[in-house]
Symmetry: C2
């Protein structure tokens, strides 16, 4: 299981958005969210390559990086591990926390209802 640190994740997210891209593209893509030094970003790219999270092709002098794992897979893996650790694997209590903090927005709820409907559908026809 590839472990991606917090800082590295920010880089991955840029690469997931638009790929492949150069180190400079990544630096630009990070924008104002992070104002890391250029060298810092290069280091993170390097580490991500070492970890097997990114691959690259040479484009003359520069590299063009692309993800080796999808954002979806990463999200799933992390979600499961997070919910396992903090909520004993149950997702409902997490959502309950959001609800209690008024962090649920109408379209969140709409999507949840849809999910549940689909899930129930699924239960029936098999």
């Amino acid at each position: 299981m590839i472990e991606i640190s917090n800082a590295e994740l920010s880089v991955m997210q840029v690469v997931w958005q638009r790929q492949p891209l150069s180190a400079n593209d990544v630096i630009a893509g990070l924008g104002d969210d992070n104002d890391w030094h250029e060298k810092t970003v290069k280091t993170l790219l390097n580490r991500l390559v070492s970890k097997g999270a990114l691959g690259f092709n040479k484009d003359g002098r520069a590299y063009l990086y692309y993800p080796l794992i999808t954002e979806q897979d990463y999200q799933l893996q992390q979600s499961r591990s997070f919910v396992d650790r903090l909520f004993a694997g149950k997702v409902a209590p997490l959502v309950a926390g959001f609800a209690s903090q008024n962090k649920l927005k109408p379209d969140d709820v709409q999507q949840l209802k849809q999910l549940i409907a689909d899930w129930e559908q699924e239960q029936n026809h098999d």
Copy 2:
């Protein structure tokens, strides 16, 4: 914001369950989940005290530890930060991931339905 590492979290979870308790109680409480050396657990307790996550009262020679932050607060804080980082603050996509992996269990769904019902109720009467 107090940062609790993974290993430290396991200790916190024991203390949240039953408090206050001694270092030995914690060691016993960790049970088979972790088979850390006694010294390791003491180190973790120490760090948690330094971080302000645990307090203690002396009980003769030994300390009795108790949490300075509630599990609820920690869960909320971590959930928000997790969902912000990976899902741009939207909780529904996280649940969708669970659904897609068949990780939703009937009682999860039941609780979610209840949450939504409550939420809608809330929306109406204010």
